[in-house]
Each structure stands twice: as C-alpha cells, then as structure tokens.
C-alpha cells in the first residue's frame, strides 16, 4: 500500500512535467522525486517565454487532468548511455545530460527511460501502468518556490513546483484540512510564515534568532512592560549575563539548581557561570546602599535574559528554549507590607494578561519541594502569606504539592488560550531565605537593622514563550497594537501611487507601522499576500478613494467599505488604545 502510494506520487510528478512541457515550451527539466504526502518537479524556465507563478498552478493542474483523462501509459525502455546522452543533448536538456554523464562516470552502460506521451524522462521508476490509475480529484499543486540545482547555491536557481498526491479525494481533503489547522495554530509554522524568528543548527538548538518583524513584536512587548511597570513604581535595573561562581555559591543555586546550569567559563583562573536567574544580581544591587524603612517596598525590575539547560528532546519552538528573557522583578518589603504587596502583584499580573487578551486562567499554589533551603518556619510563613493574598482576592486555586522553587513557595497563574490549553505565565514567589543568604537589611523606624522579605515575580514568565503562546492563541492574527506591520496601502494602478504615498506619510505621522505595496502585481494577489501575512488592515486606493480622500478597508479577510482617511485613523487609534 505504502509503496503503491509512492509510485502513484512519482507518476504524478511525471504528469506534472508533461503538463509543464506542453504549457511552457523550451522548459528544461531538473529532477522530480516523491516527498512526504506528495511530490515535486524542478524546472528551468530561462529558455521559455514565461515562468509560471503561483496563480498559474490551477492552469497546470487542469492540463494534468487532461493528460490523466487521456489514459496515457507509462512506457519503460533501457537505453544505451550514449544514445541517451545524444537524445537529451538534442533536446537541450542540460540537467539530464549532466545526470547521465554522472552515471557514465560511475560506469553505467545503460540507463532506464520512461515515456509518458511526448514527455521522455531519465528515470529509475517504478511507475504505475497508466494514468487511468490516478484519481483526478486526489492531487493538488500547492506551492511554487526557488531551489538550487542539486541543492547547491553555486548552481543555477530552478523553479520547484510542489504537489500533494493521494488515492482518494477524501484523503487529500482531510490532509489539507489537517495541515491548515496545524499551520493556523503552530507558532513554529506561524513564526516562519510571518517571518518572526528562526533557529539555526550552527547557532544551536533552543536559541532563537529574532528576524526584523519578530524583533518589532518583541520590542512592543518590552516597551509596554517598561511603561506599565514605571506606573507601578518599579525601578528598572540591568545586569550582566555571567557572574563569578562565588555568587551562585552564596545564593545556593550551585547546590540546588545545578542541573539547569551550564558548565563554567574560566576567566583568570576563576570560574564564571551563565546566569540561570536574575535574583542574586538584584540582591547585590539592594546591598549597594544602606536601605531605610522609607524605601520599602523597593521594586527592582529587569528584562533579564537567562540561560537554562533543557534536554534537546523537550525543546519546542519558543515555548521550550535554552535562552529566554524573563520579565523579572524582585520586591523587597517589610513583614507588614507582604500581604498587601502580594495582592497588588496578583492584580497587576491579571490586568496585564487581560491586556494581551487572556481572560481565563487557573491558579496554583506550589508548596515546598524535596530539595530546599531555609527553615520550615520560614516556609510556613511564606505559604501562609500566599494563601492570605489568594483568599483576599477571592481567587480559587489548586495546590501543586512540592512544586515550589528551592528558596520558597509560589503562586502560578496558568492562562487558558483559545484552544483551551493551559500555559504557565505569572509566577509569584515569597522568599525569606535569599535575604538571609545575602544578609540584606533595612533600618527600621527605631534605627534597628531588620531583614526584608523578598518577593520574586514574573508576569509573562518568559517573553519568548509568551510570544509563542500569543501566536497560537490568536492563530497569528495578532491584535492591532501587537502587529509588526499594521497596515498595507495598495494603489489600484500607477496613477494612484502618489495618493498611496501621501496616505502612507499621514499614517506614519500617526505612528502606525505601515507599508505601501506598489509592486507590479495584481491587487487581488497583493490582498491575498496581505491576508497570508496577517496584516490587520489592507487599504486599497483607486480613483473613487482619491477623489474623496478616503480608503477602501479590508480587515479580517472582509471588505468593510470606504471610509474617510481621517476617520480610519481615529478608528485604528481607538483600537490600539483599547489594546484589542
């Protein structure tokens, strides 16, 4: 069965080549193998009058159906190598000639040839007997792309046409539907399609590189957090990515967190560690000055990139990586302030998650793990404080037994996305232990030295993972304020270009992220591209729009009619202010 399907797909690639030969005389053929779920064929159109575009695929499919319906047989022949060379040379099939030469060099005397109507191909086979074995409705050409001959960048660039091939129409449609659903949701596919981020094997697994559009999205989120935290009287700090191993000895990470830390770097006979957490740095900043009760609560925030070991098998796109940026903060407070601060952080966390569109969540209280530092008394106090805050906010929660961090218990908020999946984001941890390890203090009203309590908290958790979750939650259709490109302006014809540029300028002045698409393509092709790239607003401008200083608006794959530019700007600004 599996072999039969492979043969069928291979034969489909010959039918494709045969159709292309008829439609694009002069085309040169590369190779046409079977791939997962289908097939492709590589073509060189440099000697043809024109080169097919994506829009031409249905026409090629039509021609393929014609060929299939004429019940052509696949005929195999064995040719002498020199006869084959002569034949393909006469046909100007340079790539085939190259392949046959390679075979000759290897000592081959004969090569196998398959004939399908007029199309004669160098091919090992096997093939089906006749095109009548192919179901006309069970294949589809689905992609056209560039590919180097033999995959080598030094060689010419060919055009590769991809197709899907199945035995039944239902199998084909099921596959297309499944693929569409997966692509719609999977942030790894969306990340590629929307050109947000890549991974590269020479750089390493779990280490994302942010492409320009992804970096814009990243920056919007960073900027939003920067302003939002200033309002809540957080003070931003910035710390290095490595520190002497001494720091991790003091903090206890070296004993309690070692499996997540990388091997040390040697500098001048001392060992340094890539940071897996930001807390010890913030404790050092706390210690840099004598602190008074007047300074409490003192809140240090940092978008700190940390590196933690994860097994390569569990790495997954942005949601499980080896390097990520925590929206980290540490609140130092007096015992009297603790519960109030916890309630404030809970409120703030839920507000921020709501801004990003997450309204459903589940809350967990994680208790003392097997390996821990500090006294049981401290652990009990900390756990009580967390419970108090949850009860005060009347938040229902579940206990996650032994799920705390080595230095303290925590509240975790797991958001529920549009597909009803849970993602851990916000974490709030109460810590009596690190203040002791780092021996930090403040002077109370009476002039005595007191030990502050430390709250560790991240609201989004990891910016990287949060972006992964956002993409899946919205299926890539990000809210306007988060979209890397918010608006496309498409002039209908050359005479509308100037007007499109004016609109572009006006929108830029109003701080929109906008692009004019004035390439020589049809308007409908551009609209389709824009929708694939999830551009929130596509503004088409022609004569009518120009005359009335208006734009024709397409949003969420729908034309919602003409609107004065001024009014559109108002509408879009309001949408951004509402952050949805």
């Amino acid at each position: 069965m599996a072999i039969k399907l492979e043969t069928l797909r291979h034969s489909l690639s010959h039918v494709l080549a045969c159709a292309v030969k008829e439609l694009y005389p002069g085309v040169k053929f590369g190779i046409g193998p079977v791939i997962e779920n289908g097939f492709y064929y590589d073509f060189d159109f440099s000697k043809s009058k024109e080169s097919p575009k994506e829009k031409d695929l249905p026409r090629i499919e039509e021609k393929m159906r014609e060929i299939i319906n004429s019940n052509l047989p696949f005929k195999k022949e064995n040719w002498n190598v020199d006869k084959a060379l002569k034949f393909f040379r006469e046909q100007n099939q340079d790539y085939k000639v190259e392949l046959i030469k390679d075979l000759k060099k290897k000592g081959e005397k004969y090569v196998s040839i398959y004939k399908l109507g007029d199309f004669i191909d160098l091919c090992k086979g096997p093939h089906i007997k006749s095109t009548e074995e192919i179901n006309c409705n069970a294949f589809k050409l689905n992609k056209i792309a560039g590919a180097y001959w033999k995959g080598d960048e030094k060689n010419p660039m060919l055009v590769r046409i991809y197709g899907l091939g199945f035995e039944t129409k239902k199998q084909l449609n099921d596959f297309i539907e499944k693929q569409k659903q997966a692509e719609e949701v999977d942030h790894r596919i969306l990340g590629k399609k929307l050109e947000l981020f890549i991974f590269d094997k020479d750089i390493g697994a779990g280490l994302p590189l942010w492409l320009p559009k992804g970096a814009i999205l990243y920056h919007i989120i960073e900027n939003y957090l920067y302003e939002e935290l200033l309002k809540e009287k957080y003070q931003w700090v910035k710390t290095p990515h490595i520190a002497n191993i001494k720091l991790w000895e003091i903090s206890g990470h070296l004993s309690f967190y070692k499996e997540n830390m990388y091997s040390p770097i040697k500098i001048d006979d001392e060992k340094y560690q890539l940071k897996p957490m930001n807390c010890p740095f913030h404790l050092k900043i706390y210690r840099s000055k004598i602190r008074s009760w007047r300074d409490m609560p003192l809140k240090f925030a940092e978008l700190g990139t940390v590196y933690r070991y994860e097994k390569s098998g569990v790495l997954h796109g942005l949601t499980r990586v080896r390097g990520f940026t925590q929206d980290d903060a540490h609140i130092f407070c007096t015992p009297e302030q603790l519960s109030n601060e916890l309630v404030k952080i809970l409120n703030h966390g839920l507000k921020i998650l709501k801004t990003f569109g997450f309204k459903n969540y589940k809350v967990y209280l994680s208790t003392r793990p097997e390996k821990y530092i500090g006294t049981l008394k401290y652990w009990e106090k900390a756990t009580r404080a967390l419970k108090y805050a949850l009860n005060k906010k009347k938040i229902k929660y579940e206990i996650d037994p032994e799920g705390g961090v080595f230095y303290g218990p925590k509240i975790d908020i797991k958001i529920r996305d549009n597909l009803e999946r849970e993602w851990q984001c916000t974490t709030i941890q109460v810590d009596f232990n690190l203040p002791e390890k780092f021996d930090i203090s403040y002077i109370d009203k009476k002039g005595n030295r007191q030990r502050p309590i430390m709250i560790h908290r991240a609201l989004l958790g990891s910016v990287e993972r949060f972006i992964g979750v956002l993409l899946e939650h919205y299926k890539g259709d990000l809210p306007l304020w988060l979209s890397p490109v918010q608006i496309w302006v498409i002039p209908v014809g050359a005479s509308h270009r100037k007007y499109a540029t004016e609109i572009n300028r006006e929108l830029l002045c109003n701080n929109f992220r906008v692009e004019v698409r004035d390439e020589n393509e049809t308007v409908s092709k551009k609209i389709r591209d824009g929708e694939i790239q999830k551009i929130p607003y596509i503004l088409v401008v022609g004569d009518k729009e120009m005359k009335s200083n208006s734009v024709r608006i397409r949003t969420k794959n729908k034309d919602i009619g003409m609107m004065k530019l001024r009014k559109f700007i108002e509408r879009a600004k309001k949408e951004i202010d509402r952050k949805k």
Copy 2:
C-alpha cells in the same frame, strides 16, 4: 614626617571625640583611627538627645578649634585592665568595655589610656604632646555616614564622622581642590555619586550592574538609537548571547580572535561560546531567506551585548569592561551601492555624535593587520572604498597602519571631549570576506546569484563606554534629555506641599522625569543635595509661586527667577527637542 602626620591625624580624631562629647552628652564612643588623608571617629548617639547631621559639621569643627586653642595636653596613663573595665562601665561606654574585654581575653593585664581634657579614651597612641601642635586651619570634617560596629552588619549601626587633616592650610586646600577636580571628572566617582552603576567582586571585574538611575540613562540612549535607526530604514534584530562553536569556526573568529574569547561551555557534548561579536548571527539571518537586488541595501541593527576578554589590569570603570553592548549594525549591499552607503553611514554617525554634544573628532583609516583572512585584492578594494567615502565627505584622516579587523579595513572616528581627550566611538568596516565564508548571495536583475558586500558599523561603539565618556565630558551635568531625574520640586513649607504635588502631576503628564522632595529638611539642604545629584532643574515653590501659578527656578547652581509653570514647561520641552 609621615609618622608625624599620622600622629597628628590620630590626635585630631581624639579632638573630634572630645568636641562631640561636649556637644552631644550621652554619646557612646566606638573607635577613631587614622585613614588616608585624615581620620574618622564612630559614635553611637542612641542615648543622646539628638544625632548630628551633615549641617552640624561646622559647629563640631568650631568646638574642635576651641579645644585646640586651649592648648590641651595629651596625657598617657597605663591602667590595670579591671580598673579600665570599671571606669568605662561607669561611663556606659559599652563599646570600649567590649574592646577591653577582648584585650583581657587575649591575656593583657594593662591597657593604655589617653586623656584630653575631660575625654578619656582607650588608645594605644602615639599622640602629639599638646593640641597647640595642631594648625587650626589645616583640618576639616568632610563627611558623615553610617557604619556598622566592627564592620559587621549584625552589629548596631554607628555614625561615622570623617575628617581631613594636614600640617598646613595650603596642603588641605590643595588636597580638597585636587579631590574636587578628580571627582568632578572621573566617571567611576560620578557613577557612584549619581547612583548610576556599581561593580561587585562576587559578580566579577569588568561586569557593570546598572542601578535604577543608570538604567534610565541606558534606556534613553537605547530608545533614541531605536527610533533614529528606524528613520534610516534599519531593521532591528535580536540574537542570543551564546552560539555553537561551529559558528565561530565558519566565521574565522576561532582562529583570528581567540585571545579575546572566553573558554567554551559544554552542552550535550558540543561546545558553545559566549559571543564576542554579533556579525555571524546577522549573516545567519541574512541567509534565512532568498534575497533579491530589490532588498539591497539590507540593514540589520542590534544592541547586542558581547563578552570579550580583557586583562584584569586594564579594566577601567565603564570605559574598559569585559561585557558591553555594541550599537551594532551590518549593511549588506551591492558593489554599486558601497560608496554611497559608506558616505551615508559617515553622515549618520557624525550627526548622532553631535546630538550627544561631541562636535570635535579625529578620523583614522586602519589598514590590513598582520593576521587576516581573504585575498589581498579584496583588502585593496575595501580600503579604496573607505578612502573614496572620506574624500567625498572631504574629511581629513590619518592612517592607522595594520589597525584593521581580521576581516577588513575600517574607518574609526575618535571624538574629543571637553578635556581634549580622544575616545574611539564610531567604527565603519568594509568586509568582502565574511560574505564569502558564510556563502551569502542575492539574485541580481538578470536572475544571477551575486555576492553582497558587508559593512560592519557601530556609531557609539559600546553603550557602556559611551556613557562613561558622556559622564566625563559633561562632568556629570548631563543635558536635560539624558538626565535620569530632570526636575525636583521643593515645597518651601507644609502648606505648599499640595501645590508641589499638582506641579509634579502636570510635569509627569508632560513626560518629564520629576520628583517632589517634601522631606523634613531645610530648603537649602535640599537644593544643595539636588546640585550634588546634578538635577538640571530645581523648582522651589512657596506662597508667591502658588499665588501666581509659577515656580522659582534654579538651574546650573543659579537662581534664574520666577516663571509661570506653563512657560517653564515650554522652555524645558524646547531644550529637550534641541537635545542640549
């Protein structure tokens, strides 16, 4: 001579204690040793009616002069340990009692005592014979601070009064002047005084931690660059701080830049490196997509934190560190675009340096170093292009022979600061070699694959070093747009607090970084503090200002009179827009 000066300083600390005893009855004495350039004494004022503040130092000095002028002798006596214990216990001198107990434990039978008038101290000496040996005009109390008893945070916090002591008035004044000048300029001292950054031995040399105010300054510069580069059509990207060693093998860094790179980190049996440069990552981003001549020039920018080895001996504040953030960018262009792009970068670099206040600079052209990659032909081409750009801009330059990077020659712009010192900032490097190593290409108009040229460029160089240079250039008096705190509002009395808060709100609405100083201190003390902290505008508000909706403005240590609040806001906004 040196011993005599030490003795003099030691005696001065006793004179200080003697004066404090008279002025603050009930004071308990800690210790009072000699330090570089002077002395200090630690006091516990918890049993006194009041505790001296900085403003009280002149009064204490006056009392010291009185004591000195009465020509009191220093009298030494040897007391039996138990007699001493009894005496200091009766005097409630707990700290002295503790010291004597320590001596007793060590087996001492006798302790030496010094008497100066009523003040009797446990002290090894030696001392001068009489206060008449002290020059009344050659000492000064210069600082008051908190210090833990025996330097241990578990002990009570004492008040430490510091003094300077010399033989002549001229020596004292010379020292004060020299210290003032050094503090005014040295960014390490300014960084501490203005609470911008710290270093910590447990974290490691050359790894700065940015305190809240420093992080604001850092953020302002980052934000300015972000917006400025968008205008110039740069595309921001973001890449990790480590990469597989394979990347550095491809780039050639492992062979040509090894001495500046740290030892590798092992992950899953592969080696990873902390990044010393961002270029290989940007090359990988370039390669992530097929590029066309239409995309050129393609400009990737990143504020990328890199880690490079420097010997511990050459580390210096922010200007020579082991981890720093480059305002890095790579421009990929066609050969035809090269010289135009170089001229554009030169213009842009000089414009940005001017915005920060650097108008004088010197330009160097650095040629092929001893160790290099690529062909001589490429090196010549690259050097010619750089010369062309310099000549086109009519910029005078000097040759720095063999000063280029291993992959290409470069133009360096060294700015001249207000003290006529040179600092390297902008660097522009032409590179034919890395595009080859990474085998990157674009498709030209004819559909052929072509190799782009790569320009490496940083305008500020390192954000950390640039901040160091900025601080020294301005002696800490940063322009308004760069000041972490721009405005202080000081209410004259309690009845003006509400008005001060209103002004604060109005200024915050206008995006100023502002603080209300309504602590219980005198207005003049607050003004002095504000000037030490280099606050650009200090607004004092009392009855008169309240009535007329005005503020009294102090700037650059001068009162410039009353102004309507609305007018002041206009003035300050203009100043920010002009960026000076």
